[in-house]
Amino acid sequence: MTTIPHLLPLAAVAALGLAAPAMAQNTPDNIDAVTFEDGRWYAENGAPTYKVEEDGTIDWASYSGFRRYHSECHVCHGPEGEGSSYAPALKASAVAMDYYDFIGVVAEGRQKVDASHTSVMPSFGTNANVMCYIDDIYTYLKARGTDAIPRGRPAKRAEKPDETRAAEAACLGQ
């Protein structure tokens, strides 16, 4: 696994990412932030993504993903997307999987149960605490999977955008 200091410019991150063939989606068009809409960053291919400024500041949505991950996902998948004795490392999944496949698994769940596996991902489709923040969790894990941010609580984060506040309230039905 390539280790990339988080202060490197994003172009360098993407270039190094290309050298890691195991990560099929670790390409600039899936990773690099190009447009900012409704409170979050998107990559060229339309998938949500993270943005880390030169001073290490991470976008609000990915910071929110850090919080939500450690509430909803951590008890099975381990701290900071690192995986555990129980469930796989989601920081790798968020980069290796297509965005829509990733969301599909979270919403619908999946099972791998046979003689040597008892892995069951539940369906989170009806869970507002997950689904209202799924893009946040996804971009946080993408940032971890590309080593754009280190383990631990993100040290600096952008302010919460007003449009995020409105979208959050609408999603939670508040």
């Binding site: 008890v75 555990s84 069951v120 605490n129 997950v130 040290a155």
Partner: protein, 600 residues
């Protein structure tokens, strides 16, 4: 062959007269050659009178035989030995093996229930199971999906089966059961799913419901008598299980009951602890949230609560109160007292009078504990029995969306379910502990049935300014509330201890070592690295005149989830990230039992 006779008698009487079932079971429990309930005895001392293996020869211990369980997940609990048969359980799918000790552990029978795999992800923190229990000629298994099943101990045939809960709303099981008199008493898991905790007694003969007592709700649910059920010596009053909750929050209030149960035959009371209130965001559940985080004493015949003590009113840190209650008879200040000692997740070691529920001792059993300055021990004080919360570490006072840093212990507690042992010879408790602190940020969550209901973000790291490890194995004086000695461990000690009349104390480590230490000094006398990390409990038995020590290995559980990748300390700065030991560097999954004995 006295023990065989006893077993035969128990099986013959099985299912006939209920009152006899208990005296037979009591006789089996009293026979140190056998290990017929998970806790070793009703008092939960995990003490064996066997002394063939002792502190002078334990260094010669050898592996006698091993057994692979065929399951990869975390292996908690311990095997049972009843007569000439050993019973081994596994995590989900909850296989039971009966092994013939007269024939090199040949499999006499195997039981594998059919369970919907959908229960797996509803189980917070791995699909562990803390083991079987024996009674009345039956082996009792409480499956992950909350099916309680009684198997014929000789044939493995299902005698009866009953469903205790509903996994679709997050109700699952990880615990063993308490067979007592003519009943089997069981608990429930699911505090992270908004489950309302309860203990339920089923009739041992046929599995029919005898009583159920909830952790919160109206008096008819909690089985409390407003006048006769007491809290610190005072009547609890009417509806104490609802009047410290806002609205209907108590209905999804948590207080689950997945720990170990003890029993005092003279008082006819069972003792256990209830877990955390849900959610982990304290701002969403104002009030004391009674009776979560509570030590309970219930009459085993009726379920009625005799007394309760709430250790952590209005939990702000996920300090479940489910750890075991160890019952001892000790002389305190010249008076013989019936005591109950409990090492809570919150880092305090409590000693109470188990007859009355009077609080005698509440002291920190890890010096790192900082969320409280201590418990108010003045019976005349308005805050009698309450812990004084340090504002800096109060996630309630700091509020939602605020990250409270440096709280000790972490949510996994100074000690989790891994049970301590007590030796009447040394009058010391031997306690496996965690030495981990945390940052905790609560935030608002909404409730969906069958979905996690957590509402906080946690970061955990080894206790700062200490030995750098994540655990200690300590000896504790329960009368004084003082640590006698403390052995630093690299990882949390997640294995139940065993004390013996041979003046040896055994425990396992997450790297996979079985260790034997001197009961008086803590000096390490023996260690052996088993096939996988140990989160199971050490047990001992004798067969054919030889003493054996057995342990399940198979890393997993909350320890496997939290520690597999290693911990980080966000306050250490970026350079130190990943600097702590990763469990995955030491061990991998795989269930196996290792049985030790002395060379001939």
């Amino acid at each position: 062959m006295k023990k065989l006779l006893i077993l035969t008698t128990a099986m013959t009487l099985g299912g006939s007269v209920a009152a006899y079932a208990n005296s037979d079971l009591q006789a089996l429990i009293d026979d140190p050659n056998q290990w017929v309930i998970q806790t070793g005895d009703y008092a939960n001392t995990r003490y064996s009178k066997l002394d063939q293996i002792n502190k002078d020869n334990v260094g010669d211990l050898q592996v006698a035989w091993t057994f692979s369980t065929g399951v990869l997940r975390g292996h908690e609990g311990a095997p049972l030995v009843v007569g000439d048969v050993m019973y081994v359980h596994t995590p989900f799918p909850n296989i039971v093996y009966a092994l013939d000790l007269n024939n090199d552990g040949k499999v006499l029978w195997k039981y594998e229930p059919k369970q919907d795999p959908a229960v797996i992800p509803v189980m917070c923190c791995d699909t562990v199971n803390r083991g079987l229990a024996y009674g009345d000629g039956k082996i009792f298994l409480h499956q992950a999906d909350t099916t309680v099943v009684a198997l014929d101990a000789t044939s493995g045939a299902v005698v009866w089966s009953v469903k205790n809960g509903d996994p679709a709303i997050g109700e699952t099981n990880t615990a063993t059961v308490l067979p007592v008199k003519d009943k089997v008493i069981v608990g429930i898991s699911g505090g992270e799913f908004g489950v309302r905790g309860s203990v339920t007694a089923y009739n041992m003969a046929d599995g029919s419901l005898a009583w159920r007592g909830y952790s919160m709700g109206p008096d008819s649910d909690t089985l409390m008598d407003p006048e006769n059920t007491t809290h610190l010596g005072k009547p609890v009053g009417p509806d104490s299980g609802t009047n410290t909750w806002e609205g209907d929050q108590w209905k999804i209030g948590g207080g689950t009951t997945w720990g170990w149960y003890s029993y005092d035959p003279d008082l006819n009371l069972m003792y256990y602890g209830s877990g955390n209130p849900s959610t982990w965001n304290p701002a969403q559940r104002p009030g004391d949230n009674r009776w979560s985080m509570t030590i309970w004493a219930r009459d085993v015949d009726t379920g009625m609560a005799k007394w309760v003590y709430q250790m952590t009113p209005h939990d702000e840190w996920d300090f479940d109160g489910i750890n075991e209650m160890i019952l001892t008879d000790q002389n305190v200040g010249g008076t013989d007292r019936k005591l109950l000692t409990h090492f809570d997740r919150n880092g305090l070691g409590y000693t109470l009078d188990r007859v009355t529920g009077e609080l005698l001792v509440a002291e920190k059993f890890d010096p790192a504990v900082n969320w409280t300055t201590g418990v108010d021990m003045d019976p005349n004080s308005a805050t009698y029995g309450r812990p004084a919360v340090v504002a800096q570490y109060s996630t309630e006072q700091n509020g939602e969306d605020v990250n409270s840093v440096g709280i000790c212990p972490a949510a996994l507690g100074s000690k989790d379910q891994q049970p301590a042992a007590y030796s009447p010879k040394t009058e010391l408790f031997y306690v496996p502990t965690n030495h981990v602190c945390m940052d905790y940020e609560p935030f608002r969550v909404s409730y969906t049935a069958g979905q996690p209901y957590v509402g906080a973000t946690l970061s955990m790291y080894p206790a700062p300014g200490s030995h750098g490890g994540m655990g200690n194995f300590i000896a504790w004086d329960g009368k004084e509330g003082k640590i006698k000695w403390s052995l630093p461990e690299q990882f949390s000690v997640w294995s139940g201890a065993l004390a013996t009349a041979g003046d040896v104390v055994f425990y396992g480590t997450l790297e996979g070592y079985l260790k034997a230490v001197d009961a008086s000094t803590g000096e390490e006398l023996y260690k052996f690295k088993t096939p996988s990390g140990i989160i199971g409990n050490v047990m001992t038995y004798s067969h054919g005149g030889k003493q054996y020590v057995a342990i399940l290995s198979g890393v997993g559980g909350w320890a496997g989830i939290g520690l597999a990748a290693g911990l980080t300390n966000p306050t250490d700065g970026l350079g130190a990230v990943g600097g702590y030991a990763a469990l995955s560097d030491y061990t991998a999954l795989g269930g196996a039992m290792t049985v030790f004995t002395l060379p001939d």
